[in-house]
Structure formats: C-alpha cells, structure tokens
C-alpha cells in the first residue's frame, strides 16, 4: 500500500443546517500568525448573508417555540460535543490563533464553561428578567421576555472560539436564530463549531455562520429589514456608527462594539428579548 496522502479539509459556510460554498465562489487564505498558509476559507457575499437571514427567519418559530427546558438541554449537549472535539479546537487555535498549547487549552475550557453557563440560564432567565407587576385593579399583570427574532452578530475578531461562543450562546438561549460573522483572521474554529452544531440537536437555520470580511457583509445585515437585532461585539474596526444608523431605519436593537471578549452576563440574554406584558383578570382563576 502506498503512503497516505493527507486530505485537507474544505472550510465552507454554515447556512440553514447545510455547508454550502459561498454563492460567489470566492475564498480567502487563512494563514498562521507568521503568515504560513493554513487553509482556504469561504469568503461570504451579501447574498450568502441574505440566504442566512432567510434560513434564520424560518427557524425562529421552531426554536423559540421549543420549551425553555428543551433549549437548555440542547445547548448543554453542544458543550458535551465540544469536549469531544477538544483536540481539534486546540489545534486550530494553536496554528490559526497563534496560541500556545496551554493557552489554547485554556480558551477551549473557557469556551465550554461559558456555553454551559448560558445553557443553564435557558429556563431561568425568564424568572430573573420577567416580572409580576403591581397594578391597582383585580388583575395579574405579568411581563415576560420573548426572543426578538433574527440576530446578526459580528463575532470578536481576536478570539476564534471563546469570542464566538460568548456572543452566540446568549442570543440563542432565549430562542433567537442567529447569523454570525466569524473572526476574519481565525475562522477555522468557527466552522468546526458549525460541525458541532450540525451534529447536535440544534435545528438547521438556528445558527448560521459566515466567514469572510465583516466590513463587506455587516452593512447588508445592518440594513436588512428582516433582522431584528445587531450585536457589533467584534465591529470596533468597522464604521460602526454608520452600521447603527443603518440599523435604526428598522428600529433594530444594537449592541455596540466591545474590546476583547464580552464577559458572560444575563444582560446579554435580556438584550435580545422583547418584553411582553399581559393582563389577566384575577376573578376567573
């Protein structure tokens, strides 16, 4: 038998539960910190972004309609799968992210911890962020958060996995569907995360991951009328004031850029929800 010929992986996009190449056919070279070639990643176009929003929109009702307990279970299972793929993520963070073995291990640990932390909130954030309001009448008056719908996210650019997980998980917890633009320079862990998601119980379309240039794609998502919220966590190098202005046309919720990796916080979950208040007569109960 002849010697084994290595088969390099084709890194593609993750849209609607499938792994298509970019509609544009474009790719870009992913390199190590020292500039050595690592892989070709898909360079998503505005039409890939558009397709992602369509996929996300059609996934919202199913994901938001799942019970909070079920969403928590599904998200928890992703953490289990992340553990199983640990070696792959460590390797990608080491080569593509320029981390040492120990740093890469710590980042994977942190990413899994953040994921677990958010998964636990799925059936608890309602109690914390919702409320029974005091009213002067024979009514129950209850405010509960509901997912806002489709959330577009620019992932932190300097952290390939932890950054992505830290913006992805909080948007998913409440039942939103997400279109996320991965780190441009470290996209490989994002696509490996997509492979984890594809083999988990997250329905197709709930998470859509694009690789490529955030500067090129984000304006289309910011102005897209069918996107409900925008997380600009990793957009500090973009013209993000313009993005906010574009988003304001359709009254999107916008989170401004943050340096580094956003800390895990219930506020991030609550930000991507809308509060619904219902009045219910007391006498009937």
């Amino acid at each position: 038998m002849t010697a084994h010929l290595a088969v390099p992986k084709t890194y593609k996009l993750y849209i609607g539960g499938a792994f298509p190449r970019s509609e544009s056919g474009r790719t870009y070279e992913v390199v190590t910190k020292k500039g050595a070639f690592l892989a070709n990643a898909a360079r998503a176009s505005r039409k890939d972004a558009r397709d992602s929003v369509v996929a996300a929109r059609s996934a919202v009702s199913g994901w938001a309609g799942a019970t909070a307990y079920n969403r928590g279970q599904v998200l928890y299972r992703i953490a289990e799968l992340l553990e199983g793929r640990r070696a792959q993520f460590v390797e990608e963070l080491r080569t593509g992210g320029g981390l040492t073995e120990a740093q890469a291990n710590r980042e994977v640990d942190a990413a899994i911890d953040v994921w677990i932390w958010y998964a636990g909130w799925a059936d608890k954030y309602l109690q914390v962020t919702g409320n029974g309001n005091a009213v002067s009448g024979p009514y129950f008056n209850i405010s509960t958060p509901e997912p806002t719908g489709v959330v577009a996210i620019v992932a932190p650019q300097e952290s390939g996995l932890l950054g992505l997980v830290s913006v992805l998980a909080p948007a998913l917890v409440s039942g939103n569907a997400v279109v996320v633009i991965a780190s441009e320079s470290i996209p490989l862990p994002a696509i490996s995360l997509a492979e984890v998601l594809a083999t988990s119980d997250v329905p197709g379309g709930v998470v859509n991951i694009l690789t490529g240039s955030p500067a090129e794609i984000t304006p289309w998502l910011a102005s897209h009328a069918d996107v409900n919220a925008l997380d600009l966590a990793g957009a500090s190098n973009l013209e993000w004031i313009d993005l906010q202005i574009a988003a304001a046309d359709t009254l999107k919720r916008v989170l401004p850029p943050e340096p580094g990796v956003p800390a895990a916080a219930v506020d991030r979950i609550q930000f991507f929800t809308e509060t619904k208040t219902v009045w219910h007569p007391k006498g009937i109960i």
């Binding site: 558009r50 929003v53 929109r57 289309w220 102005s223 897209h224 009328a225 069918d226 996107v227 574009a246 046309d249």
Partner: protein
C-alpha cells in the same frame, strides 16, 4: 369486437380544420399518437440552459414588473371565505400599498362560488371584457379532480360565467386521457367551451388544465396540449397546484413549443399558464426567459402568458423593495397570505 366505434365528436372548428370533417375518435387518436415523441433529455437540457441566464439591474426591474402583470393571484382553499377573497382582491389591486408605481396583477383566480365576492370586491377595477382592469378567473368542472358527470361540470362552468367570471380554468379528465379515451376528453372540452358562452354571444376565456403531474410522460403532455388546443382552448395550463410535481420548466417549455407549432401552422396565438410551485422571483424570471426564447416576447403579455401563483407575488414585492431602497426587505413589509 368493434375496433372502430366512432364517437360523434362535437364539432370544433380547429380540429375540423386540421384533421378534416371525418372527425372521429380514431382520427383524433391517429393524429395525437402520430405526433413525434419528445426528446426528454434534450428538453430538460434546453430548460436547464435557459435557467442559467443572469438577469440583473434594469432588466430585472422590468422582469419583476412584468411578472406582477402576468400573475393570476390565486386562492383555492376549502377554507376560503368572501373575506379572504376580498383581501386577495385588495392585494391584486394594490400589491404594494407603499409603492403606487407597482402594477396590478392580471387576474384573481378563485373557486366558482367565490366569483360574486370577487366581482363585488373589484368593483370598477373589474375588467369585464375591457383591456384594462383585473379579470376574475374561476376554476370549474369539479376542480381539482375533474371527477364529476359532464352535466355537473357544465353547470359549474355556466354558473361561474353568469356570475361574472371572465376566465374559466377547467380540468381535463385525466383518467379518460390516460386510458386513451381522447374523444371523451375532447368532447368535454368542447362542451365546456360552449358553456363559457355568455348571453351576449361572447365567450369567457377557457384555460384547460392538463395536470401534467399526473400525465407521467412528456409525450402525454404534448398530446394533451394538442388535444386541448384542437378542442378550442384559449390557454393551456400546467397544473391545478394540488398535485406534485406542479409546474416545471421543462413541461412549460414543451407546452410553449406546442403553442409555437400551432402559431406557425395557423397564425393563431394560444396562451400558456404554468401554475403551482413557482414561489421565487428567480424561478419566475426563468419562465420569462423561456417564453421569450421559445415563442417570442409577444407572448409576455397577460393575454398569452400567466403565472398561477399566490406566494410568488410577495417574493417579487420583496425584490422590488430591495431595488427601490437598496437594502434587503423582509416578510414584515408585505401582506400575509
């Protein structure tokens, strides 16, 4: 055994003209089965080739408006109500209320009992024979199965016509067609055409639905198209929308080819209506390309080509809004169906 049991076929001028005065089941069958077979591979390759054209910017804007003008906006549900028809008509008249430059659709297509509701809702916008305005099309003849006696089918048709329907979408008896009883199908189409006659002697336009999804082969589609045209169809329509597959590009291309053959033979223009399964603007634009390349751009007018669709209109409106505003629109900005 009598092989040649001649059925007295109803006189239809086109058939007499083509086949001759000894119009019998046998002569009809000989003619239809004498049609050359369809090259399925070539047909599909041609359709696939036509589907690759890239239509952009001003051509796309033109194509989108043309699609709207060619739509038969359709609601054919058991749960239809006069209210539903009313909102359908409102959408037909003002597809995009935020943009008054949006053209109107060609017609609304409803069940026969909803024709009065549609006519009332249209009011002065009802075409009723004039060149401008919106037509009311009614499906008839025990749509979608066509499984009823001829008397019932004719009553169904004449009731819709007298209620003000401008166009009748009839279904052929696929059972009879597939078992080779072409004469029966022919007679029924001729009889329904006759029932389309209004009191003043004019005729409601007759669209004959072949239900190509049940005809199994392209050869059958070609025969059924000829049969419908010979019997007097003004339009041949692919499908009811209730059977899968509904309209496909190769089938529509094939029907357009028959229409083209008929035009070359007689100089008479027959319309084509693909219906069912056309949901995106991109798909619809492929049909426009196919029409223009097969029978010519003359056919891109509501008298000769229609789309039977409901959700297609919303997608076209989203695309129009994208062109107008420069950013992507969403389903929140068009009406719900």
């Amino acid at each position: 055994m009598t092989i040649d049991h001649a059925i007295a076929l109803a006189p239809a001028s086109r058939a007499v003209q083509l086949i001759g005065t000894d119009l019998t089941e046998k002569s009809l069958k000989l003619h239809l089965e004498g049609l050359s077979g369809v090259d399925a591979v070539g047909l599909e390759a041609r359709a696939a080739g036509l589907a690759t054209r890239s239509i952009k910017t001003t051509s796309k804007a033109w194509a989108l408006d043309t699609i709207i003008r060619l739509i038969d906006l359709t609601t054919l549900e058991g749960a239809d109500t006069p209210g539903k028809v009313q909102s359908l008509v409102a959408k037909a008249m003002y597809p995009d209320p935020t943009d008054p430059t949006t053209p109107r659709v060609a017609a609304v297509c409803v069940y026969g009992d909803m024709v009065p509701a549609a006519v009332a809702a249209l009011g002065s916008a009802h075409a009723a024979g004039s060149a401008t305005g919106i037509n009311v099309a009614a499906v008839a003849t025990a749509f979608p199965s066509g499984r009823a006696s001829l008397a019932v089918k004719l009553a169904d048709t004449s009731e819709a016509v007298s209620a003000g329907a401008d166009e009748i979408d009839m279904v052929i008896d696929r059972g009879a067609f597939l078992s080779g009883r072409y004469g029966l199908v022919f007679d029924q189409i001729v009889a329904v055409k006759d029932a389309c006659r209004r009191a003043d002697g004019s005729y409601a336009h007759l669209k004959v639905i072949l239900e190509t999804g049940e005809l199994n082969t392209y050869d059958n589609v070609r025969r059924a198209s000829w049969l419908a045209i010979l019997a007097g169809a003004d339009f041949i329509k692919t499908s009811t929308g209730k059977v899968s597959p509904a309209a496909t590009l190769p089938v529509t291309l094939l029907m357009l080819q028959v229409v083209n053959d008929w035009y070359r033979l007689t100089g008479e223009r027959i319309g084509v209506k693909p219906a069912g399964g056309i949901r995106s603007s991109k798909d619809a634009i492929r049909y426009l390309v196919t029409v223009a390349e097969t029978v010519g751009e003359d056919w891109l007018n509501p008298h000769l080509f229609r789309f039977g669709a409901s959700s297609l209109l919303n997608d076209v409106l989203l695309q129009r809004q994208k062109i107008a505003t420069g950013h992507y629109s969403g389903p929140d900005y068009v009406t719900m169906d």
